[in-house]
Structures are given as structure tokens and as C-alpha cells.
């Protein structure tokens, strides 16, 4: 990181930031007015103690630095940033597989149901093709989930030591749900023609239901980090623990609802998009059209409901995490009649927003139904309690923008369906769906970025700071690089396998056996 500092005051503000971020070392380039480098001085921050509290101290700061015109700092990637990045990477990876694992079983159950009812082989073939894809995603989701349950401890031992007993209940119930899911999956994938056909179909439904339940439970755990409940906190200790209250915290419902809808919308758009593309390419048309219809129906219903649930979430955030809302909407100053900002690039240093478009009074109105009401801005919070504004705001804009786009596509789809049931001839609509393939997952990633980055600097909102929770082990950047490499290669292989599955549809799946 390089930052120009004009004044000594700014410089000391930066230093404070670096301590906040627990940099392990930094260097300062002393530069003359012609930008020529005079000298680079390396500083090391030594950590006085490990564990709950870490106080950096600087060995030797030259007292003359303030007289220099430009001071540049560059910061190596430090362990704290690395730990956050590794956690974020692992979750961003896992969430894709868990969405698919939650939703695809329902798609399969529908097409399987049509097959059992009508006996049309095309539905059996769709179920068969989907089940292979799902098996690949399941294995990847299961291992990445296993990694996550270890990473919570590997990266955030201090957090887990305190939080484990409080929010462990949803995780332990989730364990049961996963187990049931894994068992049902065994029956479903390997039980074709061996059991009563409705029992076999039912095991497929159980896979979906238990996947959905486990998703809800784990989101309830995350919601607890946003909205801590079920304990009293004093003097760094956690008392009167009530795991049930912790699980049913204020945020669990709005987050879980929004997440479930998101999973259906994202997976639905992805699946529908791929099949739409194949129809456009005139391959196995009946097969792909039928598959498209199943996925598109789920996707479009979920996408249309999503803004409603999102609106509910935003009101919720305004109540429980006003700093997060202020960052999402880039509200720097508290006020009434606060406008809703569309787009725009907020600058945290100056508190200004460039290039934005404002709808007067809308934000106040959306949050409380009255455009006169007050919205808390970032000025209400000490600098050290503010989340990063730029990332949170942009991510929020991306999610909402994509969400609106998906609503538009969905409404178009229902309109065409209503006007003309043979829409498959309308190639433009299918092309639109093909274009929309990744949108849902992009919105999911953006939405989680809002939730997680917007919670900063807290790992447990208002109680425990992220930097106090990180592991004392140094060298995390290397494990982060390693995991990046692993996840990139895994993603590539999964994409290759999926491509091959789709390529083989005419040979392996869309055939009558």
C-alpha cells in the first residue's frame, strides 16, 4: 500500500491506521520535492504480547520526518489482512457450492416428479444429467465446508474461544442436517431402481430440505455476529449464556430469508442460463427447453421476491447496525431528508461522494416510511468504529443493481410466457437469460461483502474487534497464497468437469435407454 501524506498530522493518522491493522512492518520513503528518493527507512513493529490484546510499539521514529514534503508508506501484506482474506476467500468459494447444494435437489425433485408422473424419458434424462453435476458440486461443497469449520479456529481462535459455546448450537444442529443430507444423498444417487420409486424420490426431497435447513442454521450463526444476543458481557467476560436466544437473534430471520431467496435466484439463473444457451445453439432442444423452464420458474419467482426481502433487511440493518447502513448508503453526515444515493464513489478522507445520482429524501423514507426522519451518518461513530465505506457502498450498489436487473428479466419472462407459451422461438429472451447466467452469483458475493465488510471493525458487533480475534501465528500470508492457488485450481477443474458434462449431454444423457 502506498499513501502520500502531506502533513505530519496526516502521517500520524496513518500510523494509527496501521496499528489498527496490525501491520508487522512498514517502510518510509523520504522523498525530496523532485520526487527523488533520498532514503528508505524500515520500521518494525514489535508485538508485546500475544492473545487478547496486542500493543504495537515502534522502535526509533526519526523526529525530523514531519519536515519532509512527501512521505510514502508501503505496507506488506500482514498476517491480519491475510487471515481476513483467507477467510473471505474460503467463504466466497464455499457459498457458491452451498447455494447449488441447497437448490439443485429441488430442481431435480421437480423433474423427477414429472418423470414419475408422465413417464416421459426426457425428464428422467434431465434428472440424470443434473444429478451428476450435483454430485460434483456436493463433494466440493462438503470439503470446502469442512475446511471452513477448521478455519474458524485456525484463523480466529480468540473469537471461537469466546463465541463457540454461544453460537455453537446452530452449528451442532447443522451437523445433524448435513448428516441427514449426506445419508439421503447416498440413497438418492445410488438407489435408482432399487427402492420403491416414491421412497427414492422422497430421499431426493430430503436432500433439498436438509440442505436448506443447514443453510438457514449457518446463516443464523452469522446473524449472531451481526446482532449478538443470548449473553451478558462485562469486563471481557461472557455471562448468562443462552444458546437458544443467541440462535434466534434479531437478525436471523431477515438474513436467512434473504439468503434462501438468493440461493434460489442465483442457482436458478445460473442453471437456466446454461440451458438457454444450449437452446440458442440449437442443441438437444427439447431436453434443454424443459430443463430451462424448471430452473427459470424458481429463479424468476425468487428474483421478484428478493427486493422485498432486501428492503426488510435494510430496515433491520438500520436498527441494529446503523454504521453499516451508513457505509452501505455512503451517508457521511447525520440528517433528515437524507437522499438515496445511486452509484457514486465515496471518498472516506473528504466525506464527499463523486459521480452519484441522488433521489431526494428517499433513504429517510425507505427506512422509516417518512422522509422527515433522521438517518444516522458516519459522523456519529468514532473513526475507529467505522467500516470501510468504499467497498461496502460499491458492493451494495452492485447487489441492488444486479437484483433489479434480475427482476426486469423475470418480469419479461413472465410477460412473454403469458402472451405466448412458445417463447422458445423468441431467441432474444433466451439470449438474455444466457447473459444473466452469472448475475445471481455475483449478487450473492456482493451481498456477503456488504454484510461482512460492513460489520468491520467488529468480528462480533460491538463486542469483539476482528483484530483482537486473529491467531497469533505469523506467516498467514503464505497459507493465504496457498489457499488461493488451491481454490483457483479447484474452480478450474470444476468448470472443466461441468463443461464436459454439458458437452456429453447428447451422448450420455439425452438418449433413450
Amino acid at each position: 500500500m502506498r499513501t502520500g501524506c502531506e502533513t505530519s498530522y496526516e502521517f500520524s493518522a496513518y500510523l494509527n491506521r496501521f496499528f489498527e491493522s496490525r501491520a508487522s512492518s512498514f517502510s518510509i520513503d523520504f522523498i525530496d520535492c523532485n520526487q527523488n528518493l533520498i532514503k528508505t527507512v524500515q520500521f518494525h513493529i514489535c508485538k508485546l504480547s500475544f492473545g487478547n490484546s496486542i500493543y504495537p510499539s515502534i522502535h526509533s521514529l526519526p523526529s525530523t520526518f514531519a519536515t519532509l514534503k512527501n512521505i510514502y508508506l508501503h505496507l506488506e501484506m500482514n498476517d491480519f489482512i491475510a487471515a481476513r482474506s483467507q477467510m473471505a476467500l474460503s467463504l466466497a468459494f464455499h457459498i457458491i457450492f452451498s447455494c447449488i447444494g441447497m437448490v439443485m435437489p429441488f430442481f431435480m425433485a421437480v423433474s423427477h416428479f414429472y418423470y414419475l408422473k408422465t413417464g416421459k424419458p426426457v425428464f428422467r434424462n434431465i434428472t440424470r444429467a443434473w444429478s451428476k453435476g450435483v454430485a460434483i458440486f456436493f463433494a466440493t461443497g462438503a470439503v470446502s465446508g469442512t475446511v471452513l469449520s477448521f478455519e474458524l479456529g485456525l484463523l480466529w481462535p480468540v473469537f471461537m474461544k469466546n463465541a463457540g459455546p454461544i453460537f455453537g448450537l446452530p452449528f451442532s444442529l447443522e451437523g445433524t442436517a448435513f448428516f441427514i443430507e449426506a445419508i439421503a444423498l447416498g440413497f438418492y444417487l445410488y438407489g435408482w431402481g432399487k427402492f420403491n420409486k416414491w421412497f427414492h424420490w422422497f430421499t431426493g426431497v430430503v436432500v433439498g430440505i436438509s440442505g436448506l435447513i443447514s443453510g438457514i442454521l449457518v446463516v443464523a450463526a452469522n446473524a449472531w455476529m451481526n446482532s449478538p444476543a443470548g449473553f451478558d458481557f462485562a469486563g471481557g467476560k461472557y455471562f448468562n449464556i443462552d444458546p437458544v436466544k443467541a440462535m434466534f437473534n434479531d437478525a436471523w430471520f431477515s438474513q436467512a430469508l434473504h439468503m434462501c431467496l438468493a440461493a434460489f435466484a442465483a442457482t436458478g439463473f445460473a442453471v437456466a442460463g446454461v440451458h438457454a444457451l444450449m437452446v440458442v445453439k440449437r442443441k438437444n432442444i427439447e431436453f434443454h427447453t424443459k430443463a430451462f423452464r424448471i430452473a427459470a420458474l424458481f429463479a424468476c419467482v425468487a428474483a421478484i421476491l428478493q427486493p422485498l426481502s432486501g428492503d426488510h433487511s435494510a430496515k433491520d440493518v438500520a436498527n441494529r447496525q446503523p454504521a453499516k447502513l451508513a457505509a452501505m448508503e455512503a451517508v457521511f453526515e447525520t440528517g433528515t431528508h437524507v437522499p438515496l444515493l445511486i452509484g457514486g464513489i465515496p471518498d472516506e478522507k473528504t466525506g464527499q461522494v463523486k459521480y452519484g445520482f441522488e433521489l431526494p429524501g428517499m433513504l429517510s423514507f425507505m427506512i422509516s416510511g417518512n422522509s422527515n426522519s433522521e438517518v444516522k451518518g458516519l459522523d456519529q461513530f468514532p473513526v475507529t468504529d467505522r467500516p470501510p465505506v468504499l467497498i461496502t457502498h460499491l458492493a451494495f450498489q452492485i447487489m441492488v443493481g444486479l437484483g433489479m436487473l434480475m427482476v426486469l428479466v423475470s418480469i419479461l419472462y413472465f410477460f412473454v410466457l403469458w402472451k405466448n407459451r412458445n417463447f422458445e422461438k423468441n431467441l432474444w429472451l433466451l439470449k438474455l437469460f444466457a447473459f444473466a447466467t452469472p448475475l445471481g452469483f455475483m449478487a450473492v458475493e456482493a451481498g456477503w461483502t456488504v454484510t461482512e465488510v460492513g460489520r468491520q471493525p467488529w468480528i462480533l458487533h460491538g463486542i469483539l474487534r476482528t483484530k483482537d480475534a486473529v491467531t497469533p501465528m505469523p506467516g498467514i500470508q503464505y497459507t493465504f497464497y496457498l489457499f488461493t492457488l488451491i481454490y483457483i485450481s479447484l474452480a478450474m477443474v470444476v468448470i472443466l468437469l461441468l463443461y464436459r458434462q454439458i458437452k456429453m449431454v447428447p451422448v450420455k444423457y439425452d438418449v433413450n435407454i
Binding site: A139, F150, K194
Partner: protein, 337 residues
């Protein structure tokens, strides 16, 4: 209630060792089989293990969840001081799980198969090896919370002869369990004979590496012999383990597969009893006689209570379903479409 949770913890560890172990072992057997037979093993394996594969690995998740909900301090200190072996084990789990699925579900068979196979076999070895290292390091007294240097705190906490030998021993046990399992799943007498030979050689390897464990323990000042033979429970369980081992050697050719499997399971159970009984409830032994104990360091009462309830409710659903799954696919050939 804490005893209920501890019982679940112990059982989950045992089941992971038995079921997950047999699963790892199948990969280990593939690794140490002549090229001709590698594919046969892999076909037998995905036919028999396919349906229960996901479930086998759930036990590990249960162990972790019990640890962080019920014994957060223990979880936090394992994951701090044994960060590196845990990380390597995780990479093994990722590599193994995905390679297993990919080689089965890749729609095109080409050179990628060879890559999946290689990854699957090596990670089948590495993962239980590091599981063994982690288990051994937890009780070997080599974790030093006061260590200053990186190497002392995060490397020598787990890198020593004792842990390495336990890792090797774990690998042999897994291979042995897999061979015993596969004997019952073969379709030709020739294949059966092959697995019997494998089971015997894995068994010999396990005995040798077991001896190595004792030597390493003596070298690293781990009072292993005292734990195992210094108390009646230890002696009795070792005796039962040896007894069932001898019975297995006798019955391996003609005995019923279910009896042989039960005997092998009994043998491993007794080994786990012998190794855990003496220092129970201490589960992590640090240097200088400091320790973390399941009784003294358990988490909040309320949390333990709800965890125990969740586990009991969970097992009402899981156990019958799991039993029915295993039973069904013992009777029926798995069939995919």
C-alpha cells in the same frame, strides 16, 4: 451433561477412525498395489463405498463442532499450536474428496483420470498420517504455550519422532481396516485372495510401526508404556485387542465377513480405549505438566446442555437412517443412472 457430550465426542472419534479410516485405507491400498490391480481396487472401492462416502466424513465435522461448542479452549489451543499439521490435513481432505468425486463423475475419460488417481492416492496417505501426528502431538507434552520462536511454538510442537511414528501407525491401521472391509466385498476368489494378502501385510506393517511408536515414545520421553500397561483397563483392552487380532488371522480365510469386521472394529476400539483411558479427562498435555482437561476446561453449562440435547436429538434421526443406508447397500448393488 458434560459426560454425555464427552461420550459423543469419543464415539465420534472412534467412528471416524473406523469408517473414515477404512475409507482412507482404500486409497492407501490403491497406492501400494501393483499397477495392474490399482484399477480393480478403485472400481471395487467406488462401488462399495460410494453411497456411504459422504456420511463417513461427517464424523469429523461432528468432532469439530463438539470441540468448539463444548470445549472452546481446547479447540482454540489445538488450532493455534497445531495450525500447520491441521492445515496440511485440510489440504489432504480437499484433495482427496474432490479427486474421489472428479474421477467418478468426469464425463470424459482421458489423461485427467491419471491425475485424479495420483492425487487421490497420495492424499489418502497424507491425510491420516497428519491426523495421527495431530493426535499424538496433543498428548506428547511437546506443545509449549510459552515458546518464543516460531519454530518452537509452531513446528516442534508437532514435529518429533513420536508423532511421526503415530502418523505412520495410523496409516497402517487405515490400510488394514480397508483390506478387511474389501475382503467381504470382492466378487472373485482371486480378488479375495489379493485382499487377504494385503490385510496380512498391512497388519505386519501396523505391528512394526506400533513397535516404532514405543521406541519413539521412549526417545521423546512420552510415558506411553505407563499409559498402556500401567493400569488394569489398559492391560485388559490391549489383551482383548491382541486376542481379536489372533482370531482375525485364523478366521480371515473362511470366516464370515461380518465377524471378521466386528473383530477388526473391536481391536481398534480397544486400542483407542487403551490410549485414551489413562490420561482421561486430560486431552491436551502441554510441556511441564500443564494440561487442558475435558472436565475442568469445558465451556459454559448452558452451552453444554444444549449441545448434549442437540446431539441426542440428532442421533435419533441419524443413527437409524445411517444404519438403513449401510444395510440397504450391503444387500443391494448400488445403481446409478
Amino acid at each position: 451433561m458434560v459426560y454425555v457430550v464427552i461420550a459423543y465426542l469419543w464415539t465420534a472419534i472412534l467412528l471416524y477412525l473406523l469408517l473414515g479410516g477404512a475409507d482412507f485405507g482404500a486409497g492407501i491400498i490403491e497406492l501400494f498395489t501393483s499397477d495392474n490391480n490399482k484399477n480393480k481396487t478403485s472400481v471395487t472401492m467406488s462401488r462399495t463405498l460410494g453411497p456411504i462416502w459422504e456420511a463417513n466424513h461427517m464424523w469429523l465435522i461432528i468432532v469439530i463442532v463438539i470441540l468448539f461448542t463444548g470445549f472452546p479452549e481446547i479447540y482454540a489451543s489445538i488450532s493455534t499450536y497445531l495450525h500447520i499439521p491441521l492445515l496440511i490435513m485440510l489440504i489432504g481432505i480437499i484433495a482427496r474428496g474432490t479427486a474421489f468425486a472428479f474421477r467418478h463423475y468426469d464425463a470424459v475419460e482421458d489423461f485427467m483420470q491419471a491425475i485424479y488417481n495420483k492425487i487421490f492416492r497420495y492424499s489418502s496417505f497424507i491425510t491420516p498420517f497428519f491426523l495421527g501426528i495431530i493426535a499424538a502431538s496433543a498428548v506428547s507434552g511437546t506443545i509449549n504455550p510459552d515458546a518464543k520462536g516460531f519454530a518452537d511454538a509452531y513446528i516442534f510442537s508437532w514435529l518429533h519422532f513420536f508423532s511421526l511414528s503415530v502418523g505412520l501407525f495410523t496409516v497402517c491401521i487405515c490400510g488394514y481396516l480397508a483390506a478387511i472391509f474389501l475382503i467381504g466385498e470382492t466378487e472373485t476368489p482371486e480378488e479375495r485372495r489379493r485382499y487377504i494378502v494385503k490385510a496380512r501385510s498391512m497388519n505386519v506393517a501396523a505391528v512394526i510401526s506400533g513397535a516404532l511408536v514405543f521406541l519413539a515414545a521412549a526417545n521423546d520421553h512420552v510415558p506411553l508404556a505407563k499409559w498402556m500397561f500401567g493400569n488394569p483397563v489398559g492391560i485388559a483392552s490391549i489383551a482383548v485387542a491382541i486376542g481379536s487380532l489372533i482370531l482375525q488371522w485364523i478366521l480371515i480365510r473362511h470366516g464370515q465377513k461380518i465377524i471378521i469386521r466386528l473383530l477388526a472394529g473391536l481391536q481398534i476400539t480397544m486400542l483407542l480405549v487403551a490410549t485414551t483411558f489413562f490420561h482421561y479427562p486430560k486431552i491436551i498435555l502441554f510441556s511441564e505438566d500443564r494440561y487442558l482437561s475435558l472436565i475442568e476446561q469445558h465451556g459454559d453449562e448452558k452451552a453444554i446442555e444444549s449441545l448434549a440435547l442437540a446431539l441426542m436429538i440428532g442421533s435419533v434421526f441419524i443413527l437409524p437412517a445411517l444404519f438403513y443406508l449401510i444395510y440397504s447397500f450391503q444387500k443391494k448393488q448400488p445403481s446409478e443412472i
